[in-house]
């Protein structure tokens, strides 16, 4: 079931209906084909401008949004904070209002603080796309994960999904929990006690369960999503050492045997090989990590198209 997409912004999965999610995923399927053609470009967003405003480092997401815009014939401008006026002391809102005065159609924002895209959406005429805000949400990552799962499992409803690792700091985990439970998957999260928010089970939709150990979460899973250990967000000691983390919580080939035979492994990248995921799993036949990257462009094309194409 799909539903016409009429929102001005894409701020999070939490605000989306199941129908809107399905519309984005269905549109993304058509766009995946564009990237597989020889001429990887369609004229759909000719004359539109997309600004990528990234206050945090990013290779994958920023490149993915840039290519998505270019493959739709939109003009893409990248601003990374290191080389912008932010270093001269300009406030966030001033930066945003100045960019908005240049009349772009879409501003893609990544920021270390939760809620920044929501603030910008209130003051800008351009559509705002959240490319990750602090520990809150990363909607396009969840959408591309869902697309990857759907392409390889044929469905999402009824699947058992394990999400492992640093749940506390992970915007990917939050967006994935919202999305996958809306589409009817059953989620088990697990990680070090210090990194699994206790209130999580109570706050979010039903269909979510906190597993006592990593092994319990992986057992009989159809999909295993491994999260990155976010060293940059850890001011306190959440676990004793990386070595200990990899022994107790890392996804190894042996642990993967607990999952269903045809289970798939996802990781949002960048990977810490040998810490949260062993190399033989990351490069193994059940790993779809590079497929995720491919679908990422398709999903972002769909989002840019649905936000700036169509309705006036």
């Amino acid at each position: 079931m799909t539903e016409t997409f009429r929102k001005k912004d894409l701020l999070g999965i939490r605000d989306l209906s199941e129908g809107e999610i399905n519309t984005i995923l269905q549109t993304a399927e058509s766009f995946r084909d564009v990237s597989r053609r020889e001429v990887k470009k369609v004229p759909a967003l000719r004359g539109k401008t997309v600004i990528n405003l990234f206050f945090e480092p990013s290779t994958r997401t920023r490149t993915s949004f840039e290519l998505a815009a270019k493959r739709l014939s939109a003009d893409a401008v990248n601003i990374s904070v290191a080389s912008s006026s932010v270093t001269k002391g300009e406030t966030l809102l001033d930066t945003a209002m100045n960019l908005d005065a240049m009349a772009p159609h879409v501003i893609v924002v990544r920021h270390g603080c939760a809620g920044v895209p929501h603030q910008l959406a209130k003051i800008s005429r351009a559509s705002i796309v959240n490319a990750g805000d602090g520990s809150n949400e990363h909607p396009t990552q969840a959408l591309l994960d869902a697309m990857t799962i759907r392409e390889h499992k044929g469905k999402i409803a009824g699947l058992k999904v394990a999400i492992l690792g640093d749940i506390l700091h992970s915007r990917v985990a939050r967006s994935n929990v919202y999305l996958l439970t809306k589409l009817g998957a059953r989620i088990r999260v697990a990680g070090p006690n210090t990194l699994v928010p206790k209130e999580f089970a109570g706050v979010v939709e039903s269909g979510l369960e906190i597993a006592p150990t990593i092994d319990d979460a992986i057992k009989e899973a159809d999909v295993v999503i491994v999260l990155r250990i976010q060293r940059e967000r850890m001011n306190d000691a959440f676990f004793p050492s990386m070595r200990e983390y990899s022994i107790f919580y890392g996804l190894t080939k042996k642990r993967m045997q607990l999952a269903k035979k045809d289970a798939i492994v996802l990781h949002p990248g960048p990977m810490n090989r040998g810490i949260e995921i062993a190399s033989d799993v990351a490069d193994g036949s059940s790993s779809l990590i590079l497929n995720q990257v491919e679908y990422g462009i398709a999903v972002r094309m769909a989002v840019l198209f649905l936000l700036s194409g169509g309705s006036e």
Partner: protein
């Protein structure tokens, strides 16, 4: 409709000297079942079936920013290389010519066909054309007014097989 499809099929085969190297491309939505019907008829006539493809022109439309709510983007399916093929674009109705312009642009992004022809079930008449585009094969010319809508109804979408002319509803 059956007779018109039959005639289109034989004209296409005659003009292309058989079904070899022939690639029929239906334009979504209603061009697709018509292309399938023509392909089937050509198979009956020639003993070999032409290749079939599907174009979804949504991303190449020139009115994307004014069409209102977001249009659904469906998949384009051109599985075989179109280089050096004799392509026949197939649609239900030829009216302003803008759909065909979009289809031609899209086709060129997929390769360089030897030639491209156009077959339509209904031609609403040259006076409606907004671009210099004419059909090579026409099922039937049905002169209509701008205030009218012509609808090709097909079993695949409408349960009946017929062509109807309706008054455009006044908004």
């Amino acid at each position: 409709m059956k007779r018109a499809i039959s005639r289109l099929a034989s004209e296409i085969v005659e003009d292309n000297q058989g079904a070899k190297n022939l690639y029929l491309v239906g334009i979504r939505r209603r061009g697709v079942p018509i292309a399938e019907k023509i392909a089937k008829r050509i198979e009956e006539l020639e003993g070999s079936r032409p290749t079939l493809g599907i174009l979804d022109i949504t991303l190449y439309r020139d009115d994307l920013s004014t069409v209102g709510a977001n249009p659904i983007v469906n998949r384009t399916e051109l599985d075989e290389n179109i280089n050096d093929k004799n392509i026949v674009l197939i649609d239900d109705v030829l009216y302003t010519g803008r759909t065909i312009r979009a289809a031609l642009d899209q086709l060129m992004d997929f390769g360089r066909p030897r030639r491209v022809q156009l077959a339509v079930l209904i031609d609403r008449g040259r006076e409606h054309r907004e671009l210099p585009i004419q059909a090579d094969f026409i099922g039937k010319v049905v002169p209509t007014k701008k205030t009218e809508i012509i609808k090709v109804m097909l079993k695949e979408f409408d349960d009946v097989e017929a062509v109807g002319i309706f008054e455009r509803p006044v908004e």
